[in-house]
Symmetry: C2
Subunit: 342 residues, 2 copies
């Protein structure tokens, strides 16, 4: 059963309005605002139909209607304009991002910040899993007094560092030698591959180096794994307060608590890794805690390997068009960093 064009127009008008205001919208509002020149009574009839078909819901008899998840889905898939941004806004966006990303050491934080500021939502950025990234170099730096710092530099420019204690103070030159040996060995491999490869080395190989390297790699891998659930960065958590429906302290609190259970968020983002753009509306989310939220994520990839997954989380009545546009332009900005300027 297909829905008449007028019904769709009405539905779109309702969703648009609800996304703006957050209050159930009545027939009068639609009659006045939209360009469907028809009386409130007529619209009421259509609305009753739309409700029967599951697109609208009524909080209570004397309230207007609000869109259901199903309605948002339809809205996102076919109703909404591709972008709700004007040309000026878009060029502002581009400029803004260019500035943001100009001198960046910590891309992840910048993406999180940019994303939340532009969307006025809470942003979620998945820190790329160090386990699956190619190593570029290992460098041991002597800090003196039996302390050393082991640096793992990855292909993508990420750096992880670990403080280790040495049994005795070791000559800088010797540390460099180990560093070089390790680098030669691991370069181009992921942590995991490097570790298994190293285990297979025959004992004939320079033993001390190997033992040292094994210890290091093991340590790092453990560390990387144990901090698995923390590989997530948030931005703009308090943006949720902008939404009147979160003025209730418990709602707000629950939301902030949800943000703290990074396991859940991690799962969601990790699940969407394969998708260039993922939109999960309300009950479409698997996680119970997210059943009344929407999560929109994008994955940026290069040479068919994902570099990063990032997105926003917020009320189902978020401005999907705007969010999608912004995600798009952030991807593009990352292109600039990782490709053009290379």
């Amino acid at each position: 059963m297909s829905i008449s064009d007028r019904k769709l127009m009405i539905l779109k008008a309702i969703v648009d309005d609800y996304i703006m205001t957050g209050t159930p919208v009545g027939s009068r509002t639609i009659a006045k605002k939209s360009d469907i020149n028809v009386s409130p009574a007529t619209i009421r009839n259509e609305m009753a139909d739309l409700e029967e078909e599951g697109y609208l819901e009524q909080p209570h008899t004397s309230a207007g209607r609000k869109p259901s998840d199903k309605a948002y889905r339809l809205y996102v898939d076919t109703l909404m304009r591709a972008s709700s941004l004007t040309n000026e806004e878009i060029s502002f966006l581009k400029q803004y991002m260019k500035n943001k990303f100009s001198d960046v050491s910590n891309v992840v934080e910048t993406v999180a910040e940019t994303l939340s500021e532009l969307t006025n939502l809470t942003s979620v950025v998945l820190v790329p899993d160090a386990k699956n990234k190619e190593l570029q170099r290992i460098q041991i730096v002597n800090l003196g007094e039996h302390n050393a710092l082991v640096l793992f530099v990855f292909r993508d420019g990420d750096v992880k560092n670990f403080r280790v204690k040495m049994p005795k103070d070791i000559d800088d030159q010797y540390l460099d030698n180990i560093s070089n040996w390790l680098t030669d060995f691991v370069k181009g491999k992921t942590l995991e591959v490097a570790l298994t490869d190293m285990k297979e080395l025959s004992m004939d190989d320079i033993d001390v180096y190997q033992q040292f390297g094994l210890n290091l790699l093991n340590m790092v891998l453990n560390n990387v794994e144990s901090s698995g659930s923390k590989n997530i960065v948030l931005g703009g958590a308090k943006n949720i307060f902008n939404y009147p429906e979160y003025q209730d302290i418990n709602e707000a609190r629950n939301f902030l608590t949800l943000l703290d259970t990074k396991d859940a968020l991690y799962k969601v983002l990790a699940d969407n890794k394969d998708l260039e753009l993922s939109i999960r509306i309300g009950k479409e989310n698997d996680r119970e805690e997210l059943k009344n939220m929407s999560v929109v994520t994008a994955t940026y990839r290069m040479d068919n390997k994902e570099i990063g997954t990032f997105g926003v989380i917020g009320p189902t009545r978020m401005d999907y068009a705007k969010v999608i546009t912004i995600l798009h332009y952030i991807s593009e900005s990352m292109d600039t960093i990782f490709k053009n300027e290379k």
Copy 2:
């Protein structure tokens, strides 16, 4: 005019109770709870006196009393027990921190997390200013395709890294040479000193290196300075919800907004850098936004140079004794990292 011992006991009882419950405390409560065996009526008289002297305030006629900032000050200075923790709790603390700090690459985040978890307050940690830290090594790592990563390793194990573009792909060996030259030049100096020193180099010195080094140092310094207000890490922001007096959405919101204006927090922490332990109660804070909060900070130093400043921020009715104890044990744990195990 000195205050009688009984008055002090009553005041302490009131503060203790108010810290626990957050609700104004009446004469009955004190009469029952404390070991001052005296009738409510008597306590009322004393309370009236204490109010006159500015130690107590009454939200309204028919409510109990709550401590004033002045009362908290007295409490902190002379009334409270040094530690409200039992021996078991303390050994738990020590164990907890030992675990936390065992395999740490990011000390700052760990301190923030530990602090907020243990105190149930919001923690604030000042990231040590890279400008004034001694450099240990500079290492340039080739990432391929005209990209390179410049690593600045500091004496204390901190690492800052910057992605740079190279005009053309440069031989790894050559990059190592530059790295070594730079390291030799900067080792033991702060960024600022290194920069001025380098400017004074005569042009006879290997010119390319110098130019390259100058550019790098300049870039890093700019970056470090421009991110000045961000040198702060928070933990447990939502702990504020544990306090019933912050159930009001606006209070909570204001608090979270305050946390976002890192300038203010930075100022506060930086101001207290010289003090091993600083307790600012309510109006004692200079900042208007903090006039109804308390900020307790500790500075950890080594060889008379501060390594880190960290503390908590929360309602004036925080459990000062507990907070101080915990700050103390965190300092101690850091000793373990930076000294004993060295």
